[in-house]
């Protein structure tokens, strides 16, 4: 089974965010980047499928030179090959543009299965995988917790809301977007890093960005920063205020 994992490199979760001077994106100068967390789970799922069923794991990432560090890390964790889609202009592409670029790069590989995280930690659109499947004309399923290879194709466990799940069966080739937490991630090892040095990273030049369907006009810090609201009063008053919060802010009542 040939599994292709599409990963994204995103700013580290706890990065201090500063809006760039043009107000269109954040200041990238001082940022450290890491693999998008759901993509890390997609990679883990791919590695586990390979360990169970054999095959090959190819990891693909689009972006500037810096994304090769994420590819190397994926190779260190056990991916067999990497494809770097060279693109310095991700910001100039909307979801459709990014998915088209991935589709171009992936077509020649004709994988049995494409895995990716269900959404990115930075933009959080949660669409690239689905759009890629649509462009490639293959079936997809999203928010997947478990993947099983069957005689006919795949049986996956999909997360629904409120603790509900559903199994979905589908044929190969297919695309799945993977939910975080379904597997336990492995840590990168020294041995993995050393082995990764001998693995191949192919580069792929993306074609120029086309017109966008939607555009990100500007970014800004939200007004309300998280802070603790202290509730005071008699016990009964506090209880009433809490219920109010439970209803309208937390929404669990």
């Amino acid at each position: 089974m040939k599994i292709l994992v599409a990963v994204k490199q995103v700013p580290e979760r706890d990065a201090q965010i500063h809006v760039a001077a043009d107000g269109k994106w954040i200041d990238e100068d001082d940022l450290s980047y890491t693999i998008n967390e759901p993509d890390a789970y997609a990679l883990e799922e791919a590695l586990q499928l390979k360990e169970k069923n054999g095959g090959e794991v190819v990891v693909v990432c689009a972006g500037p030179e810096r994304v090769t560090s994420t590819l190397r890390e994926a190779l260190a964790k056990g991916a067999d090959r990497a494809i770097h889609i060279e693109a310095d202009d991700l910001g100039e592409r909307d979801t459709l543009g990014v998915a088209r670029m991935l589709a171009e790069a992936v077509k020649g590989e004709s994988p049995d299965l494409i895995l990716t995280g269900l959404q990115s930690d930075d933009l959080g659109l949660g669409q690239t995988g689905v759009v890629l499947a649509e462009l490639l004309g293959i079936p997809h399923a999203t928010i997947i917790m478990q993947v099983e290879k069957t005689d006919l194709g795949l049986r996956v466990k999909r997360e629904l809301e409120d603790g509900w799940f559903q199994h979905v069966e589908m044929p190969f080739p297919a695309l799945l977007t993977i939910q975080s937490g379904g597997n336990k991630l492995r840590y990168a090892t020294l041995m993995g890093i050393k082995k990764a040095k001998t693995k191949e990273t192919a580069t792929f030049s993306a074609s120029a960005a086309g017109a966008k369907a939607v555009s990100l006009e500007k970014v800004y810090l939200p007004e309300k920063q998280k802070r603790t609201e202290m509730l005071t009063g008699t016990p009964a008053e506090i209880a009433a205020k809490l219920v109010e919060k439970l209803k309208f802010d937390v929404r669990v009542l």
């Binding site: 979801t95 555009s215 970014v219 810090l221 603790t228 506090i238 209880a239 439970l246 937390v250």
Partner: protein, 322 residues
């Protein structure tokens, strides 16, 4: 038609709350861009009603009995092509996340997903989304022509009063759909058997710490948890003392949880505990020590005697639930 089409989501004939919030957003958007706000609902047999919208398009086909991305995309593609709405709105549910991006792709569009607010821009409406786990807001705008697809985040628009009012006229739409178009086979939804407690999936957790004093007070906390439909959890000392089983321990040597609500009662918030619950969406803390570190991570805090507050809260919650 220009205007706004809201795609509703139903399960066994019942609309979910998020669909009504999407209707609320639909009204708001229709007011901005002009035109009517209609709704569409997909089902195998129709018979569904909703109020407060201009029209309800009941998309009916037996192959729509169970949700499939292929089925939904195919029929909505036909409906949108037929109606040509200016905007197609969805609640940002797990189901919508599964098919709406593909649907937009068929129109050469990009879904503006998970929208929390809308406002007027220079050229048409601007949709606000959150980036980087809410650390940043972003304004999005459609730049292509054709229908604009948008999904709205839960809780961003007030659903109170939506869906009621005069029942909308129902326009039945029977799409073309063949079984071979549907490539995946969905199974019945199920819940995980609740043999052992899995705090990591609990939506609401009431967690108790050393502040509850003695084992006898567990019962009072259990009552609050029951009232909220919550799982009872604890910090390490409680489990060490055997007042609650070890599997209910949250923290570095216990479980890591991320509920919608984490209600910490009598927990000071040692670092070993905090690392286990920092992923909670909302944290309410009740503690007698105003300097307790738990308040650093709490959204709402109460400084006071938990033995007075908890029974009152239990009462109030039960009353609120009716």
């Amino acid at each position: 038609m220009s205007g706004v089409l809201v795609v509703l989501e139903q399960r066994e004939g019942e609309l979910n709350r998020m669909s009504l919030e999407a209707v609320a957003a639909g009204h708001l958007l229709a007011a901005k861009v002009g035109g009517e706000c209609s709704a569409a609902m997909l089902s195998s047999g129709g018979g569904l009603k909703v109020g407060g919208v201009a029209k309800l398009y009941s998309v009916e086909h037996e192959l729509l009995k169970d949700y499939t991305a292929d089925g939904y995309c195919a029929v909505l593609e036909q409906l949108v092509k037929k109606l040509e709405p200016g905007y197609v709105l969805f609640p940002h549910t797990y189901q919508v996340r599964d098919f709406a991006p593909a649907l937009a792709t068929r129109f050469g569009q990009v879904l503006i997903s998970d929208v929390v607010a809308m406002h007027d821009g220079d050229v048409g409406p601007v949709f606000v989304r959150q980036l980087l786990q809410g650390k940043l807001n972003a304004d999005y705008r459609q730049t292509a022509s054709g229908p604009c697809f948008v999904s709205v985040q839960a809780g961003s628009f007030r659903a109170e009063g939506e869906g009621s009012g005069a029942e909308a006229a129902v326009d039945v739409f029977v799409p073309e759909l063949k079984p071979e178009q549907i490539r995946s086979k969905p199974g019945e939804p199920f819940r995980e058997s609740a043999q052992t407690v899995d705090l990591s999936v609990a939506p609401v957790i009431v967690s108790v710490g050393r502040g509850i004093g003695e084992e006898g007070n567990i019962a009072m906390m259990q009552e609050l948890a029951d009232a909220l439909g919550a799982e009872l959890a604890a910090s390490r000392p409680i489990c060490d003392n055997g007042w609650l089983p070890m599997e209910r321990q949250v923290g570095s040597s216990g479980q890591t949880v991320s509920p919608k609500l984490y209600l910490a009662v009598g927990i000071s918030g040692a670092i070993q505990h905090l690392v286990g619950m920092k992923g909670s969406k909302a944290v309410i803390a009740i503690n007698k020590d105003e300097h307790a570190p738990i308040f650093e991570v709490a959204d709402f805090g109460v400084v006071g005697d938990l033995f007075e507050i908890v029974p009152e809260l239990t009462k109030a919650v039960l009353a609120a639930k009716g």
